[in-house]
Symmetry: C2
Subunit: 510 residues, 2 copies
Amino acid sequence: MSQAKTRKRKRRPDPTPTKQPIEPGLVGGQYKPLYEQDILKIHNASLDVLEQVGIEVMPSECRDIFETAGAIIDKSRNRVFIPRAMVEDALGTARNEVVLYGRDDPRHDMYLSGAKVYMGTGGAAVKVLDLETQAVRETVLDDIAKIGRMCDALDNIHFYLRPCVARDLTNEQLDINTFYAAVTNTTKHVTGNCFTVESFRDVFDMCAMIAGGAESLKAKPFISVTSCWTVSPLRYATETVEVMTDIVRHEIPVFLSSAPQAGATSPAALAGSLVQINAEELSGLVYTQLLKPGAPVIMGYVPSVADLRTGNFIGGAAEFALMNAAICQLGQFYNIPVYNSSGLSDSKLPDIQAGYEKGITGLAVALAGANYVHHSAGFLESLLTIAYEQYVIDNDINGSIMRAVRGIEVNDETLSVDVIREVCFGEGHYLGTEQSLGLMHSEYFYPPATDRRNREDWEIDGALDMRERARIIARDLMKTHQPKRIDPAVDAAIRQKFDIVLDPKLAGLA
Amino acid sequence: MSQAKTRKRKRRPDPTPTKQPIEPGLVGGQYKPLYEQDILKIHNASLDVLEQVGIEVMPSECRDIFETAGAIIDKSRNRVFIPRAMVEDALGTARNEVVLYGRDDPRHDMYLSGAKVYMGTGGAAVKVLDLETQAVRETVLDDIAKIGRMCDALDNIHFYLRPCVARDLTNEQLDINTFYAAVTNTTKHVTGNCFTVESFRDVFDMCAMIAGGAESLKAKPFISVTSCWTVSPLRYATETVEVMTDIVRHEIPVFLSSAPQAGATSPAALAGSLVQINAEELSGLVYTQLLKPGAPVIMGYVPSVADLRTGNFIGGAAEFALMNAAICQLGQFYNIPVYNSSGLSDSKLPDIQAGYEKGITGLAVALAGANYVHHSAGFLESLLTIAYEQYVIDNDINGSIMRAVRGIEVNDETLSVDVIREVCFGEGHYLGTEQSLGLMHSEYFYPPATDRRNREDWEIDGALDMRERARIIARDLMKTHQPKRIDPAVDAAIRQKFDIVLDPKLAGLA
């Protein structure tokens, strides 16, 4: 090789495959709302609460398990007092990483641990802004299928927690059909709720059929269940605990979801709300580890806020963001993955209020290193309403947030002293330099529904606001995106065994 | 005092004066986008650039000053190479705190230092969305007066950097009338631009008349000037440097504003852009400290982004937020106050895109501890358009961000173990407890233009989105808010001495 050629190669290296500007699971933790010593104070106060205030547990298998393990029971007040040593034992056996798998699609496997960040949908809306009429209406099963299909195509929605309640179904149809509609429309990890032991077992059996057996499902669970097993402050919901117990015994990952509202069901002092929710979460960790040491459990902190003027739940507040960011530090302190909330808005429609509330709450928790940020796609009106176009919009918001999480790489190459010298002693401009061209698609994230053109070009295209642009994209995705279908033979067997009411056309089988 | 009474006092202490949930100058720094070692790497690379690449300075007094002080001059290429020792000397004499004063109103004094956060307007838009027609039109002098009056009333806009260009004025009328319209409509600190030495001296003289003399103005400057003295990469703008030199000699605080666009006028690698802008800022610090050691100078880092697909300036990007947050760490490393940018949006109207871009970029820089965040009120369409209602909206956004900056106080009282015990052993609910009532207006921020009601109540009031609500508030503020007027005798003298074209009705004299 000639010397000239060598020099040329040095100056113009072969382009390496372009790295994506963002990806699921980037590492946060650059934002620390709490001082180290404050984390310890909250931890110790939570242990005091568990020892001295305890939790209310009615007579049940759960209470027997606590008693057998050495907790002190006050039967007259139905309170269980948990000694520190039991908490320490649970922290010793709990998993430091919980893997949530995609459905036969390793691109969507999520490794929940440390400060890795994943963002996705949240659950249990009862109203939706109809994509065509823009009017509010009740949510139905078809919405779960259609939104699932849309989310399957949106890169910055990393998992699919069933977004709404299928209000057209009976209680008996609800859980199995909700999971069916979700898992047939996306290969992303699906999280849902199960209201009874029986319905959970049906869901487990159905997913085992898709996975090729119960052991395959346990080895690589593409579903998980969120369990609202507490009634804050510090009370267990007996029937929900029974369902949660069964889930843990089936080795399906479970989120210990607790969502006290500061000022209503937890103290108005933000620090006090953190103490209470941390006590609730630690008690759940103790219980699940007593049930099955090493069970795949995710701490489900959702410290929320009540508007003290009205008592309303509010999700778009800075105080909400602060607490949900702070609990990431608790999770990192315990080295146990956490589930939390952000991306909510108290606006009734996708307007500038929704945008700023989502931007602020989402960025705060992601920079704090939240492992599984639910509610971060689709939501409006606190927790009541979803909108199709909002998923498209939140895909952009989450992407921008993930770009911030990635941060700034500082090394000899990126410091660019040679590039600066070359440009300043040469053409005086960086556009068109090798570095600029090379970094165009790896250093910069271009949110697809966001308009960065000048006013003239934007006006030529109809001067649409982001909501209108997102509605067009949402319609298009539902028409054109085809998720990976489940095996038709398995589907037929599922339909034979269970009362599946979803139109096959909406189950990826069209 | 009876024992019963004593006990009652203990349980129900006299309410202490309610602390505000937020205030200007709260301390950020909880978010650190750069590792400590990366700050050092950027610092050292910047010094290498100053020594090896230098800055382009045409023959001028400025270049002579550099030469006299020991910089190495390459006259054939008009480059000034600055040795490390000169930078270290400048860092030694520069002020660690710069105080920007309100106009005879100490509530608005700003103590720029460390990680204290102040957020306000930004400058030089050429278009405005008319409040009544919602159509875009050219900006005029009246807009500077009216928006100033509005910002005077909006608590979370901490300073008033003249927002737009009075396109109805001649160049000769521009600077004096712009400052006049701003300072007569708000007692908040005013920042502006001066295009010539002569126009700066007029502005200085006018403000000295208001302050009661030049020495009073220098002692408590209620105005400051932003100077765009560089043309990136690493070039000085000769005429602007002359104006800046005069400002420094008059002891008026000056912002060394540099806004290279990554990929166009600075490297596409974010770290490289930080190196270049840091070199530019350090060179400016050196120059101003050579002019007048201890001169009140604020580093004016505005690392920006070019959309590499179009070359357009974009202000709402995550990469923009990341770099503007990172420079706060540089300022804290040097212990010199910084000016930077956030709250921009590339949207053409106040829609959900504008909301999320403002939320993300604003929160990032505020949590990083930006001292003087300009552009964080009013802006749309990158840097081209402002909107009256946007100031009202950004007042809410900034308030939410400041609440996040305040963080979570953790102490024995806020940990609330006693409150938790009392509630769990008692009524089981925190609403109406002494703590909740006491913290209602000190722990929680209620953004006034943000709607947190339920859908039914919102619909009864007309189902207005935030933009519409903000338009109503903006109209109302301009009608009802009366800023503190300047002394009518001084005003008459000013109007006699200078070519003031603003209608007296718009100068707080109606």
